[in-house]
């Protein structure tokens, strides 16, 4: 097995097909196809099903994905160990995060990181509602994850708690009446139209329990799975929204009124990475993030 074959395999998976991968890598399509077939022959199994609109991973292909990525990363790491003396070599840093921690503080970390290491490009993927940041990092799919705690069983993943985010309420323009207190007792939200996230959501459930305990209910005006649409919808007057302070900051910058909640609801956020599994680029990012979080 050659590393180039694994590179080609990864490219086909990433670009969704042989043609697109060949184009992206600047190689001839027949060469790439040949290389893949050789790899499959060597391993004695099909890695990809060719279907009309691209490729689909077989179970074997699926299993190869993690190790192939790790190999690619380690190879980059091996090369860059030599370059460490003159700074980090070019490369790609892969991070996965929820949208709200991406808003803050991840965007700041990445901006600072890019200033320091402009030759390293950064990829921030979305950590979907149902995905597990621990396994994504443990499997080598991403080097770094930024997520809220708690997470499931840690395994061989290092967790660095960076801070806490408190949930806050963002009001549409013209609301609330100026005499409303800060923090806002949750009971005052009775009947309030909300821009909300879809169920199931741990934070939504938590807020609903608190509302239930206070004997009140809000009502959904708009429920959206586009997290970045919440503040624009509040701004357009659709309703209020209960969001992390990371997002609430953005809302406040736009001139919307933001209040704390009583009782307060908050959760810690953390940076996760594989124990002992960081490339120099990854290591540099973790060091920078920890520095900025202090």
């Amino acid at each position: 097995m050659e590393l180039r074959q694994l590179d080609y395999f990864l490219a086909v998976v990433e670009h969704g097909g042989v043609t697109a991968a060949a184009r992206a890598l600047g190689v001839a399509q027949p060469s790439l196809s040949d290389s893949l077939r050789t790899l499959e022959r060597e391993l004695g199994t099909e890695l990809l099903h060719r279907v009309s609109r691209g490729v689909v991973l077989t179970a074997a292909g699926q299993a190869l994905l993690g190790p192939a990525r790790r190999a690619a990363r380690n190879r980059m790491a091996a090369r860059s160990v030599l370059d460490d003396l003159v700074g980090l070599s070019s490369g790609d840093l892969e991070i996965v995060a929820w949208s709200v921690v991406s808003t803050h503080p991840l965007s700041e970390y990445v901006a600072a990181y890019r200033r320091r290491y402009p030759q390293i490009s950064v990829r921030i993927a979305d950590l979907g509602d149902e995905e597990n940041p621990v396994s994504l990092v443990a499997d080598g799919r991403y080097e770094i994850a930024l997520a809220y705690l708690p997470v499931d069983d840690i395994g061989e993943v290092d967790v660095h708690v960076l801070g806490r985010h408190e949930m806050m309420i963002v009001f549409p323009p013209g609301e609330p009446p100026p005499e409303w207190p800060d923090p806002v007792p949750i009971a005052m939200l009775d009947g309030f139209p909300l821009v909300n996230v879809p169920s199931p959501s741990p934070m939504r459930s938590r807020v609903e329990s608190l509302l239930a305990e206070a004997g009140v209910r809000t009502r959904d005006a708009v429920v959206t799975g586009h997290r970045d649409a919440m503040v624009p919808l509040v701004q357009a007057g659709a309703g209020a929204a209960i969001v992390s302070q990371a997002r609430a900051r953005h809302a406040a910058q736009l001139g919307l009124t933001v209040r704390h909640l009583d009782p307060p609801v908050s959760r810690p956020y953390a940076l996760l990475h594989r124990t002992g599994g960081l490339s120099p680029a990854g290591r540099a990012f973790v060091d920078l993030a920890l520095e900025l979080a202090r």
Partner: protein
Amino acid sequence: MEVRQLRYFLAVVDHGSVTRAAEALYISQPSLSQALRALERQVGVRLLRRDGRGVALTGEGQALVAPARQILADLGDAREAVRAVTDLAAGRLDVAASGTLGLDPLTGIITRLRRAHPGIVVHVRDIERGADIAESVRRGDCELGVAALPLPAGRLVVRSAGQQELLLVLPGGTETADEPVPLIALGAPSALPLLLPPVRSSDRAVIDAAFESARTRPAMAVECGHLEAVGNMVLARAGGAFFPPSLAETWRRLGAQVRRVEPAPVREIGIISRPGPLSPAAQAFLAAASDLDS
């Protein structure tokens, strides 16, 4: 005079005999006869008379037929009108939208919709691929889908909701010689680095297409689909990014610069639905969408 009596009367008229009318109404003949006699007593005239072959209309009966039909039609209309109002007064609309379309134009459409019909709760699903949006609509999970055209819609109805141009948002104080900024300039190695949507997202496809038509490639600094994070990174001077117009305006208010580029990344927006009648809420959504266009 009760509606039920009119309905019975018209059944006898249409079926020509009390026996057949009773069968059609699933009631016993004696009950029907009794109801008809009660009607005649109420209006004070004979409506039906027995003749050799069953019943026949008297002159007065003849005169009642058209008005009776009109009354029933009016009541039917009234019921429908009430139901339509009720639906819009307390309806739910499920919409799927892809990428930034879930923010622009969707925020504007939802805002107009809710201003007209504050009782409609809109649920928006974030579904990235056009084909998956089509599937969601086909299955009935969502009544409407908003996606970039073209997309494989099959037998679904596709309505155009206008064109959308993505604008380049730059850190404040960036020197730009030309307006619109030529994309070819962005492809140069020394050019401003770009913060781009994820590879294979529909937002990225429209940007890549524009760069391809300029025969150049973007210098990617960061790949990220979290829009607030991207905007924050632009403000932190990490690079430029493409946003739809209303979002670009938000970042401009926070200190960024907005520029058109040439060739412009433009896409046509489509609203897809199943063939057949739409719910009142969906119709109201389409009305709100077309208002936005003009």
